[in-house]
């Protein structure tokens, strides 16, 4: 019965109720929508970071991280790979690569690049290069057919931006220069076989791909690889999977690292971002709270006579307190529901096409983001935003409610 009385009281002054509800709706909407927007940016940065040959979990020789040189490699990856495969969760994929710093050169230009020796068929679903090339041909698998082997063995894939920078085209030669295991400078000519496009221009300038066979031949590393990169279905699992792998496999001489450790910058960014969300929620809430207190105070004061009468009739103070709290509870909950609905439907609408901000593309690339943003809703954020608003909202309504409950019947009935 208290509920239905509170509900009716709420609509004694519909305009006032609607106005404060709008404040709550806008508040919650802005909390959820803007958070989803920012989360979209962060998720995108994580995905860019992980797809840029990082992977969710990476396995490499223990000293490789501090000294990414060829001599710190996994000598015999075969048995290791099959053991890792046994312990991976369903849906996970992995790829082994050789990776070394090199200089790419043609007649007119030279630039530092990262040379990656890959197994093309393993990369599918693991890194961006697995998605194939935008023009030209993909590196063919290491199966060496007679005649075709030459063409494939000296093929190289480069990024579109690098191709433009070097003023060259598919079919032209590119010379790669690097150090082999004996610390001797080796250089070899490759023929540009295909061109890939990545989300970020810096990626396109940084990576060039050859087959692992060609890398093996050029660098003299035998079966060795620099890294084994694992892609999971859910980025969040990386930490646990890395731990499980380390426990299951005797990790002597190798390190198994999740992306959070591989990309500390991104982790720091997410930290700043979480702090900002908390701050933003509080600021919006405080702005809302002034309105909630004021409106509830008004609603209480114009009914003081009524509260006095109820008390004179024998109503307990806590029941008056409760009925006022239920009234603001209604406002908060209805506002929250509508605010959520509005935010989620907007996120859904924008999410289908993405928010295209290519006008700012250079700036986004500067910060490691892509220019089309897909807002992402995290359940945790939604729950958090609603809890903050409803819980703290009830807390601040307690002040006017307590004033109503404390009123003395005699005074109140004199009140006009």
């Amino acid at each position: 019965m208290d509920l239905s009385i509170a509900w009716r009281n709420l609509w004694r002054n519909p305009r006032r109720t609607v106005i404060i509800m709008i404040a709550v709706i806008i508040g919650i909407w802005s909390m959820i929508f803007l958070t989803a927007f920012m989360r979209g940016i962060v998720v995108d940065m994580i995905e860019n970071g992980i797809a840029e040959l990082t992977g969710d979990v990476k396995i490499y020789a223990r000293d490789y991280k501090n000294d990414p040189a060829l001599e710190n490699r996994i000598e015999n990856p075969g048995p290791l790979i099959s053991r890792v495969r046994d312990h991976l969760p369903a849906g996970a994929k992995l790829a082994a690569r050789v990776r070394v710093n090199a200089i790419a050169q043609n007649a007119r230009h030279a630039a530092g690049v990262t040379l990656a020796g890959i197994d093309p068929e393993m990369e599918a679903g693991v890194s961006f290069i697995g998605d194939g090339v935008s023009s030209g041909k993909m590196l063919s698998p290491a199966v060496l057919e007679a005649g075709a082997s030459e063409a494939s063995g000296n093929g190289i894939l480069v990024g579109r931006a690098l191709l433009e920078k070097f003023e060259t085209e598919i079919g032209n030669k590119l010379i790669l220069m690097t150090e082999n295991t004996g610390n001797e400078i080796v250089s070899r000519a490759f023929r540009i076989r295909g061109v890939y496009q990545a989300k970020l221009e810096s990626t396109e300038k940084r990576f060039v791909f050859i087959t692992r066979g060609a890398a093996r031949e050029m660098l003299g590393i035998g079966e060795g690889v620099s890294e084994i990169s694992i892609m999971l279905e859910n980025h969040e699992q990386a930490g646990t999977v890395a731990k499980e792998l380390a426990a299951a496999i005797d990790p002597e001489g190798i390190a198994i690292t999740p992306w959070q450790e591989l990309l500390p910058m991104l982790k720091a960014y997410i930290g700043i971002f979480d702090g900002f969300i908390l701050l933003w929620y509080l600021v919006v809430f405080v702005a809302m709270a002034f309105g909630i207190i004021n409106t509830t105070l008004m609603a209480v004061f114009e009914r003081m006579r009524e509260f006095g009468l109820l008390k004179a009739l024998g109503m307990r103070p806590w029941r008056i307190l409760r009925s006022v709290l239920i009234e603001s509870g209604f406002i908060l909950v209805i506002g929250a529901v509508l605010g959520n609905a509005l935010a989620l439907s907007l996120v859904y609408t924008i999410g289908r096409f993405g928010l295209d901000l290519t006008a700012f593309a250079t700036g986004f690339a500067y910060a490691g983001m892509s220019a089309v943003i897909y807002p992402k809703v995290f359940l945790g954020d939604v729950i958090f935003a609603n809890t903050v608003v409803i819980f703290l909202g009830l807390l601040v309504s307690a002040y006017p409610a307590a004033r109503a409950a404390r009123i003395l019947p005699v005074e109140a009935m004199r009140h006009t």
């Binding site: 305009r15 006032r16 106005i19 404060i20 709008i22 404040a23 806008i26 508040g27 802005s30 803007l34 501090n66 000294d67 990414p68 040189a69 710093n101 090199a102 200089i103 007119r108 230009h109 030279a110 630039a111 530092g112 690049v113 920078k165 003023e167 220069m177 690097t178 150090e179 610390n183 400078i185 500390p264 910058m265 720091a268 960014y269 930290g271 700043i272 933003w280 600021v283 919006v284 405080v286 702005a287 809302m288 002034f290 309105g291 909630i292 207190i293 004021n294 409106t295 105070l297 008004m298 114009e302 901000l357 700012f360 593309a361 250079t362 700036g363 986004f364 690339a365 500067y366 910060a367």
Partner: protein
Amino acid sequence: MATSQMIPRDMIPMDMKMAWRNVWRNPRRTWLTISAIAFACTILIFMLSFQFGSYGTMINASVQINTGHLQIQAKDYFEDRAMRRVVPDPHRVIKTVGGIESVAAVTARAKAFSLISSGNRTYGAMVIGIDPENEARVSTLDSLVREGEFLAGTAAGENRSGENRALIGRLMAENLQAGLGDELVLLGQGRDGSVAATILKVGGIYESGMDEFDRRTLHMPLDTFQEVYSMRGAVHEIVVRVSSLDRVAGVKTAAAEKLEHIPGGGDLAVLDWDQLMPGLTQAIKIDLTIGIIFWFLLVLVVAFSILNTFLMAVLERTREFGVMMAIGTGPGRLVKLMLYESGAMTAVGIALGIFTGCIFTAIFQVYGIDFSGASEILSQYGISGRIHPRLSLVTAFAGPLLVFGVTFAVSLYPALKIKKLKPVEAMAHV
């Protein structure tokens, strides 16, 4: 309307007085409303100052470490960093540009991509030839040297102890496993396509906090660079430092004009920091745009929070307004009265907000905000450790102005409701 013409001019202050008294009929409500407005202003002033402060730090850091305010380069060098696109006669250009007002310092640089090897490691990097004396006036490179010392001046052409020294970044030193005094072998391509090779000793190690810079650059004396890379006296960039950021545009125009008049000047281009680092300005614009959306929504929430106060001020006084109208007060004057009332509350709130906002911001401006926990990411943007918000006229008044605009728009709704009142009905209202 006849009534409004009947009001003598000296009555107008009375309206204000009346409005002011009405505002304080319910002090608690008024204070809550004022606090909401003041709160919004304080937050806006602080956050905007914070944003602008971090942009200033970002721009200055990047400009000082890297590009300088202005650069004069061969046309097309910026798009295509080829060795052959040079400024052939740097002395003349430096002399010309150095004479322009507000130019603080000028230096020349030459750049070549090369292979750098220590005993057991080889990496590719950008080798930059600098004029140590002038470089120190243009950039902060000399103060970034953490180990060893900055390159000595080679003005007299003498090379102390007869060997060439180089400065390298901390990350490059780690990658190369090289320390002070170790020898590095440079291998690259000269301006004419010939092989350029030399041996340098590590004379200093610098740390800028920008990973890319610390990993991929090596600095050596310009004269040695010109010899090794057969530059024949040419350089790639003339870097200009201007006395302050807002003078850059003027200097740019003046420099472009003067260059027209020197031989070969037509092949040169003047670029400002905005063109040299297009990503930076855009990143700032994105951040600012996102910021403005956030602040606008905040103001909207505040506006709806206080709309009820304004509305109640009208609704609970319906009877009173009916009486006033019955004794001859025009509805226009009542609307004005209402706007005075909401205006008074807004004005007090904004004044209070500007006051607390400025004090709050000024405190942090002096002490800075410590972001050491997040320094890794900030260093990517060239911000180190502490951020100082920067209070300016814009940051102090832009936010409050937004609050004022939105609040005024909101207060129109209840005020205009008065116009619909009919004296008899209004007086019957309880």
